[in-house]
């Protein structure tokens, strides 16, 4: 079985069973290290990707369901942002990636794939999210190291950076 989809702007044809969770295709067939296995139950968010711009748990999303769709992983987030914001040139990092580094937010960093993907989705719709909006949007993403306060600060920092970029 071959399934065709677009991953980080590039068309990909993957020979895998259609019920294969997207996560395994991204990790094994396409050698992407952004999405990570955390629970396989859509409970934690470490495997999150954007599917046509919507945050999606790749660990429970069958490959067949993303046929013909645009999948964006952590690796493709800067390009996705540049297209959406109509920037002339894609920055090396999505503003939220830069912000989590600036805030020195992470510890082990394993959950940050999902944190950044979900945060980027939030920032694409809500330009200046409030503390409460961030907490609500991010509540389905767990962090075992306890870095929530720093992720919150990083999302706020990224919002400011993106506002500057729009000027």
């Amino acid at each position: 079985m071959a399934v065709t989809l677009t991953v980080n702007g590039r068309p990909q044809t993957v020979a895998a069973a259609p019920d294969t969770p997207l996560l395994y295709v991204l990790a094994n067939d396409l050698a992407l290290n952004g999405p990570r296995f955390g629970c396989g139950l859509a409970q934690c968010g470490s495997c999150s990707v954007l599917v046509d711009g919507i945050e999606t748990r790749s660990c429970v999303t069958p490959l067949a369901r993303v046929e013909g769709k645009r999948v964006t992983t952590l690796e493709g987030l800067a390009g996705y942002y540049a297209t959406a914001a109509r920037l002339e040139k894609a920055p090396e990092l999505h503003p939220l990636q830069q912000a989590v580094i600036d805030e020195q937010a992470a510890q082990c960093g394993y959950c940050y794939n999902g944190m950044i993907v979900k945060g980027a989705e939030l920032l694409s719709r809500t330009l200046q999210p409030t503390d409460a909006q961030i907490r609500t949007a991010m509540n389905g993403h767990l962090c075992r190291c306890g870095t929530y306060p720093r992720i919150l600060a990083a999302i706020q920092r990224a919002a400011v950076m993106m506002k500057e970029a729009r000027r």
């Binding site: 020979a15 895998a16 069973a17 019920d19 294969t20 969770p21 395994y24 990790a27 094994n28 067939d29 050698a31 992407l32 290290n33 952004g34 990570r36 296995f37 955390g38 629970c39 396989g40 139950l41 409970q43 934690c44 470490s46 992983t73 952590l74 690796e75 990092l93 990636q97 989590v100 580094i101 020195q104 992470a106 510890q107 082990c108 960093g109 394993y110 959950c111 940050y112 794939n113 950044i116 961030i134 907490r135 609500t136 991010m138 509540n139 993403h141 767990l142 962090c143 075992r144 190291c145 306890g146 870095t147 929530y148 306060p149 720093r150 992720i151 919150l152």
Partner: protein, 743 residues
């Protein structure tokens, strides 16, 4: 035993179309830098008395530091390089480290007990100073000037007062060994000379982690590698029982081509070239297990512990606590309970093993590569030197989660199938088969005199020690369950239990419960047992403050004289703008009530103080920590930014452990198997945090990775009392428990 007799090539063919995908990524071994490759010819550990074991100088005027402590997300890999760069007079950009590897890096012991900086720091500092001294000797000869007239900046040695006469480290030694032993006499910098140590430095590991360039152990892929899943009962039973296969129907997965069953005694796994097929196979395989009903169940646990035949010892004794209690003005006597809790790394454990006749390589997120080497060698029945273990970071582990278990499982399957094998634990494997942090039961009696002085303190504590046999070994070899001896982190902690106070009459009675039969597997979980110890001890003392009508901060101050304990308490009280409060019981009206509490504690070293603000909904039983403040004195703090992150994370994790986390189990097995049945603190309920690092450049560095868990947990418990006027003496503070105590 069903063994796979297929040669490697045949098996891969049987595995199907996925094989091609494996060669998309190179093997990590093929990417070995020169600084590693030359050393890796012989098994370690390398001789710690040689400078070359620790430091290499390269022709491009950079250096490699060979560190034996692991990056666990705590920032150790950055801070240890700060120490090395400082002593070598190199810029941070001129020095790097290599992967921990039993063929390459020194054996400094496991990365436990917050020891990376406390114990590892002085070792790398001494080695770097020796290297600098040796380089100055070479430069002295080259420049014809005595070494004491030379200065070094960024690896360039120059004659003092004449920078035109200079030579680079790289030109003195470029990629050649020092080939000399450490003298033990190399001068080290005075703290007043530090410019890199003590300064905030961004973590070196973060950019790659934030972009998908970092390779976590879960992401290691080797050419020809197969994917395996272990198959076990859903949730462990009693440790001694292991798990016994009653029946196995291999034909139940016959419809999934290329998936094989590997069995050795009761160790069971499925393996396939295709990961999804391995997952499906593990789920679908029909196997029934003998699971005896030998656990007490969550509800019966504490009665079981109290009535156990314990091994008793006195951990600390001063004066006569029993007599002093009789003379005290106010006495508190209460029982406190802390549950089993799990490590639950966010990415379940994973390991890759390649067992070949010529030797074995294992990639694992272990906290100690040399310890893992011994455990893998044991299940393979080979000498330890036949095994090479390389460290790949996993998700934060916070103690001994199932990493050695995963490494053994990968080795067992690789040996059977004759190919490199990746074992990825499922969420239920990790939640169900963890080496949990042990449960704890405490009886505390304490008394104050009329002036508010603590005059008596007696603590009786029950808990079991750590399991030593990994599940894979237990199942595959039939090795009987066994426990560690008594000791630090397994007995009552005389540092966290009362040592910060000037208590004239004190006694700590340790009741070691036999943990092999009828209990869960256990091991060290961040700040082992201290959350339970401080939960009991600091609540009891808080009760005394309340009885004596003294503000809890003032009460603690009045009973302490150690300036470093006083300083952390004052620092956190100032940061939180603490104002005296003595009327907790009066503030109990309304559905939503708020309160604040204070706690002190640490693990074995350092000093921790915390304050928590909580909000309690008396009607729903919901407790939220809204703001947490934490102050740590860890002596010389090498990278204050990293320690602030550690404090912040501990405050949040302590809130999670106090408010949410509990391993549940029936008579037969653990039943908390995912993030719904074992909830942790979520984003919406995360506290704001304020972190304070007390810098003491003139003191030796002590741990900071677990030293405020105890204080933070106690602060939340005391804040709950402040908000409600009620004492909750068992955690986690679930809505049901809260409503029961407020009813």
């Amino acid at each position: 035993m069903i063994s796979l007799a297929l040669p490697r090539r045949e098996f891969l063919k049987a595995g199907g179309a996925m094989v091609i995908g494996f060669s998309m990524r190179g093997t990590p071994l093929a990417q070995e830098p020169a600084a590693v490759h030359a050393r890796a010819a012989v098994p370690g550990p390398p001789d710690q008395k040689l400078i070359d074991t620790w430091i290499a100088i390269h022709a491009d005027n950079t250096a490699t530091a060979y560190l034996g402590y692991a990056e666990l997300g705590q920032g150790a890999s950055t801070a240890l390089l700060q120490i090395a760069a400082e002593e070598l007079d190199l810029a941070m950009s001129q020095i790097s480290s290599v992967r921990l590897d039993t063929h390459v890096t020194p054996n400094q012991g496991a990365t436990v007990a917050s020891a990376a900086i406390e114990r590892g720091g002085p070792q790398i500092r001494a080695a770097a100073a020796e290297a600098r001294q040796a380089l100055l000797t070479l430069a002295s000869r080259r420049l014809g000037v005595p070494a004491d007239q030379l200065a070094v900046s960024n690896g360039i040695v120059s004659v003092a007062g004449d920078v035109s006469r200079a030579v680079k480290y790289g030109d003195l030694l470029g990629d050649q060994p020092f080939a000399i032993a450490m003298t033990g006499t190399a001068p080290q910098k005075m703290p007043s000379q530090y410019r890199i140590v003590g300064a905030r430095h961004p973590r070196l590991d973060l950019p790659d982690k934030m972009t998908g360039r970092y390779t976590y152990v879960q992401q290691v892929r080797l050419p020809g590698m197969l994917h395996a899943r272990v198959v076990r009962p859903l949730g462990q039973g009693a440790y001694a029982d292991g798990a016994r296969i009653a029946s196995l129907d291999e034909s139940s997965i016959a419809n999934i081509p290329g998936v094989r069953v590997v069995r050795r005694r009761d160790f069971l796994a499925v393996v396939s070239a295709n990961e999804w097929d391995a997952v499906r196979g593990a789920r679908q395989l029909k196997v029934t297990w003998d699971m005896p009903a030998s656990l007490a169940g969550t509800a019966g646990l504490f009665d079981q512990m109290r009535s156990a035949r314990t091994t008793d010892s006195v951990i600390a004794e001063k004066g006569d606590a029993a007599a002093a209690l009789g003379r005290a003005t106010h006495v508190v006597q209460a029982t406190y309970r802390g549950p089993y809790q799990g490590h639950m790394p966010f990415g379940p454990n994973c390991a890759v093993a390649d067992v070949t006749p010529g030797g074995t390589t294992v990639m694992c997120s272990t906290q100690g590569v040399y310890g893992t080497r011994d455990k893998v060698a044991k299940v393979l029945g080979v000498a330890a030197t036949n095994v090479r273990v390389q460290y790949f970071e996993g998700a934060g582990t916070f103690g001994r989660s199932c990493y050695d278990d995963a490494a053994q499982a990968a080795a067992l399957v690789s040996k059977e199938v004759g190919a490199p094998v990746r074992v990825q634990f499922s969420r239920a494997d990790e939640h169900g088969w963890d080496n949990f942090g042990p449960a704890h039961l405490a009886d505390v009696k304490a008394g104050v005199d009329a002036s508010g002085r603590i005059v008596a303190y007696e603590y009786d504590g029950w808990q079991h020690v750590w399991s030593t046999v990994e599940t894979s070994e237990q199942l595959a070899l039939g090795t009987p369950a066994n426990e560690s001896p008594d000791g630090t982190s397994r007995n009552l902690n005389k540092v966290t239990l009362g040592s910060m106070y000037d208590i004239p009459n004190l006694r700590l009675n340790n009741h070691r419960v036999p943990g092999i039969s009828g209990y869960l597997k256990a091991s060290n979980l961040r700040s082992p047992l201290d959350v339970s110890f401080a939960f009991a001890s600091e609540q009891a003392l808080d009760e005394l403050a309340h009885m004596a009508g003294i503000d809890p901060v003032e009460f603690r101050r009045r009973n302490m004289s150690d300036p470093r304990w006083l300083a952390v308490l004052d620092a956190v009280a100032n940061a939180a703008q603490w104002t005296p409060r003595t009327n907790a019981a009066a503030r109990t009206r309304g559905t939503i009530v708020t309160g604040r509490g204070v706690g002190l504690g640490t693990h074995m070293t350092s000093y921790g103080a915390a304050i928590a603000d909580v909000r309690v909904n008396r009607s729903t039983g919901a407790v939220v920590a809204t703001h947490m403040y934490g102050a740590i004195d860890a002596g010389l703090v090498v990278n204050p930014a990293a320690v602030e992150n550690q404090i912040s994370g501990q405050l949040v994790q302590a809130a999670s452990r106090l408010l949410k986390e509990e391993v549940t189990f029936s008579r037969t097995n653990v039943t908390s198997l995912d993030w719904n049945s074992y909830p942790i603190l979520r984003f919406a309920e995360a506290p704001a945090v304020t972190t304070i690092v007390l810098q003491h450049v003139d003191q030796k560095s002590t741990g900071a990775g677990e030293e405020i868990m105890a204080a933070a947990s106690a602060a939340i418990a005391n804040a709950f009392f402040d908000a409600t006027g009620a004492r909750l003496r068992e955690y986690p503070f679930t809505p049901a428990r809260v409503k029961a105590v407020l009813a």
